[in-house]
Amino acid sequence: MLKVDHIESRYGQVVALHDISVEVNQGEIVVLLGVNGAGKSTTLKTISGLLHPTKGSITFEGDRIDRLSPEAIVRRRIVHVPEGRHVFPGLTVRENLIMGTSNRKVSRAETERGIERVLEIFPDLKRLYTQLGWSLSGGQQQMLAIGRGLMAGPRILMLDEPSLGLAPVIVKQVFQTIKNINEEGVTILLVEQNVSLSLRIAHRAYLLETGRVIRADTSESLLRDDSFRGALMGAGGH
């Protein structure tokens, strides 16, 4: 479905991605793992058009998308929930959610149904429905950002550290939610630091290091691999 083929990406003069190839098949959950600075977020930014690769190509269902603008990419229902939330501070929770639908024409009824579904997933947002974005706590903003991503009707949802800043009880819910969304037919590309929880829901994983893929494998074999567990997860994970 999505094919990232030997891309290189730069921030000005600095090469952040040297050679990244990632494939995501319809219906999968794929997770990108690696330390900070390995290039995980940069890979997502390059797919969503915030950066353009200097080498290589990205294809979505056979079409090249690596020269398209971010808004053209989100119109193809490739939806990026970036790190750092980027909630609209002056809009209410409801308005923030509705903003998520601006990538396509939707009926009012469909919008309302979408909102209802998000509120079901994050009941905390129901209580905050008419509050302005800036007044939400960090964790609440994270929920809102994911909810806004869902409102865009994604075919591929790219989540950059969705568990960041969430209370443990919510973290588990979020992972369960991701699994549920996936079972409803949304393909998921995930970047996470919480290795054990993300491997538990993901089908496959790519391990990145200094802008290169150093390992691509299924979640099961990674979970079984003791040397990998020791290196990335520590004893028992968290």
Partner: protein, 599 residues
């Protein structure tokens, strides 16, 4: 410094020989007059470089300062027959006072609101110059403005006055250069990048803003005096809103952070209309279009463009190494796995703290204490008020009710920079680094409260100023190295998330605070990095710091914390050792979820 001065020297020298290159006769003296005027514009535009380029305050009132400078000088010198230099000094003083007032107003306004107020000020000044005719001469203006005599030399001829003006331009450039490369200039940049982070780093927003406005007004007045003396005649139409826009354009076209750029911009904006005169009726339109094109396609201005061309040419001559790559954080040496111990000496005592936002009771009666040597942790569900507590402690919010006793004194409702100076510093949940500054510059700004050299020191007592800057850089470097960070010269915005957090912690501890507040330091870090972070916390603790942190990573919390407080719905629901609170049924229900096995 001498090297830098030598590098700078060619520019005034080139400018100084220009009169010899001009054609003779009437046309020559016409161009020379234009040169004098453009030098006076450049001086005033340099003031705007400080205000707009360094401190990021949008002002469209530079022509008003320019005008107040011109008029106060001309009225005193012509109508009241004051000596030249007396009028000169008084004019500077009066204009600086106006700058200070506008600076105070800017404390309450930002960006486009501020721009609107400065436009208002500009228009008022213009109206006063036009209509207070008994004093300003009204639309007729003031003529017979004198030129000075200094140390027995008279600067009455155009050539002599041009060279005198150049001398003042060099002086203005020196002032702006020293401001930029001093502690004061770093404070202005911090203000531009992030006001909240700047005040949390101990910078007084009041001082920084009023300083930026007074420098801008002072240089505006200096330019105005040179203009009045240079053209021998002034009238209100010179000091119109259009002129303010021209100053703005000079700074943007030249390159808003560069002294040479601003000077180039001033020359360009002054001479371009003259060059385009052959287009007759269309020349103003073409001129406007050219300015738009420069701003659209050269965001770094003319000077930035020149530098880039120069760089590319040099690159052709000398082969450069390959582009840099992103390097991961250097791993820290072996863990010491020694849990920190707290003493009984009270550092912070929070009593009945409330913070309400309208009807929302974000914090609703919280009490807790922190002792010297604690690594205390605040945990709780999202939206339970943890970050709000930290914001009240650090002065970003005022408390609705309650006391915050720090070493016995109530610090509730003090400003962030005063609290920082008392020895409490912090990091932010969303990371508030100064994005356009390098990692090292970010940390140097954290050292601001330790410095003593102000504007006068930066300008006059050079050795001390330099020593202090060197010390600040050394301390910043040492602190970053202590935390295992070495990419000093990378812009903060280009660093990955985890490393930004390390830089932010370094900025918070470089001035050796007593109490450090960390808002979710482990967020966005993987296992290995979180372990490195606990090592960092041990090191910080070894330096004698007491820490209060908010965190959701329970295995991290249980490895470092000496004491835990749990909040829910703005209130404290549990406290004690980490082990104890993590097995508290109420905490499990509200926060951890049932299948928790963390402690």
């Amino acid at each position: 410094m001498i090297k830098q001065a030598l590098k700078f020297l060619p520019f005034p020298l080139i400018l100084a020989i220009i009169p010899f290159l001009l054609p003779g006769g009437r046309l020559g003296s016409y161009y020379l007059t234009l040169m004098i005027l453009s030098v006076s514009y450049a001086v005033a535009a340099l003031g705007l470089t400080v205000l707009l380029g360094y401190s990021g305050q949008v002002s469209l009132a530079q022509a008003a300062f320019f005008g107040i400078g011109s008029y106060v000088f001309a009225i005193l010198a012509v109508k009241y027959h004051q000596y030249y230099w007396e009028a000169f000094i008084l004019s500077l003083v009066v204009t600086v006072a106006f700058g200070f007032i506008l600076g105070v107003i800017s404390l309450r306004l930002a960006s486009h609101y501020l721009a609107l107020v400065t436009i208002g000020f500009q228009i008022i000044v213009e109206l006063v110059l036009n209509n207070w005719s008994s004093f300003t001469g009204g639309a007729d203006g003031i003529s017979n403005i004198p030129r000075p005599v200094l140390f027995g030399f008279d600067f009455v001829s155009d050539h002599a006055f041009y060279w005198l003006s150049l001398g003042f331009l060099v002086l203005a450039s020196y002032i702006v250069y020293r401001v930029r490369h001093s502690r004061v200039g770093s404070a202005l940049l911090a203000l531009r990048e992030d006001e909240i982070a700047a005040s949390a780093a101990g910078i007084s927003v009041f001082h920084a803003k009023t300083l930026a406005f007074t420098i801008s007004a002072g240089l505006g007045a200096l330019g105005g005096i040179l203009y009045a003396s240079g053209s021998l005649y002034i009238s209100p139409n010179v000091y119109s809103f259009n002129q303010s826009v021209s100053f703005f354009a000079m700074v943007l076209v030249g390159g808003q952070e560069s002294i040479i750029g601003t000077t180039l911009g001033a020359a360009l904006i002054t001479f371009l209309p003259e060059v385009l005169r052959f287009l007759h009726a269309y020349y103003i339109a073409v001129y406007g279009l050219l300015v738009v094109i420069v701003i659209l396609f050269m965001p770094e201005g003319l000077y930035g463009m020149l530098l880039r061309i120069l760089d590319a040419l040099l690159g052709l001559v000398w082969k450069r190494g390959p582009a840099g790559t992103v390097v991961p954080v250097a791993t820290l040496p072996e863990h010491r796995k020694r849990r920190p111990q707290a003493s009984n000496e009270l550092v912070l005592q929070v009593k009945g703290l409330h913070k309400h936002f309208g009807g929302v009771k974000a914090v609703n009666g919280v009490d807790f204490t922190i002792c010297k040597g604690d690594i205390a942790v605040l945990i709780g569900p999202n939206g339970s008020g943890k970050t709000t507590v930290l914001n009240v402690l650090s002065g970003i919010y005022s408390a609705t009710k309650g006391e915050i006793l720090y070493k016995g004194a109530n610090i509730a409702n003090r400003s962030p920079n005063r609290i920082n100076r008392l020895g409490i510093s912090r990091t932010f949940q969303n990371i508030r680094l100064f994005p356009e500054l390098t990692a090292l510059e970010n940390v140097v700004i954290g050292y601001f409260p330790k410095g003593k050299v102000g504007l006068a020191g930066a300008l006059f007592s050079r050795p001390r100023g330099y020593q202090e800057e060197r010390l600040a850089r050394e301390q910043a470097r040492k602190t970053l190295e202590l935390l295992g960070f070495t990419r000093f010269d990378e812009k903060a915005k280009n660093l990955p998330y985890g490393q930004q957090r390390i830089v932010e912690i370094a900025r918070a501890i470089v001035c050796e605070p007593e109490l450090l507040l960390l808002d979710e330091p482990a967020a966005g870090m993987n296992r290995e990095e979180t372990e490195a972070l606990s090592e960092i916390l041990y090191r910080i603790h070894d330096l004698g710091l007491t820490v209060l942190l908010i965190e959701h990573d329970m295995s991290f919390v249980s490895s470092v914390a000496t004491r835990a407080y749990v909040m829910d719905f703005g209130q404290k629901i549990s406290e004690g050792s980490v082990q104890k609170v993590l097995s508290d049924p109420e905490v499990i229900k509200a926060y951890l979820g049932d299948d928790a096995a963390y402690a």
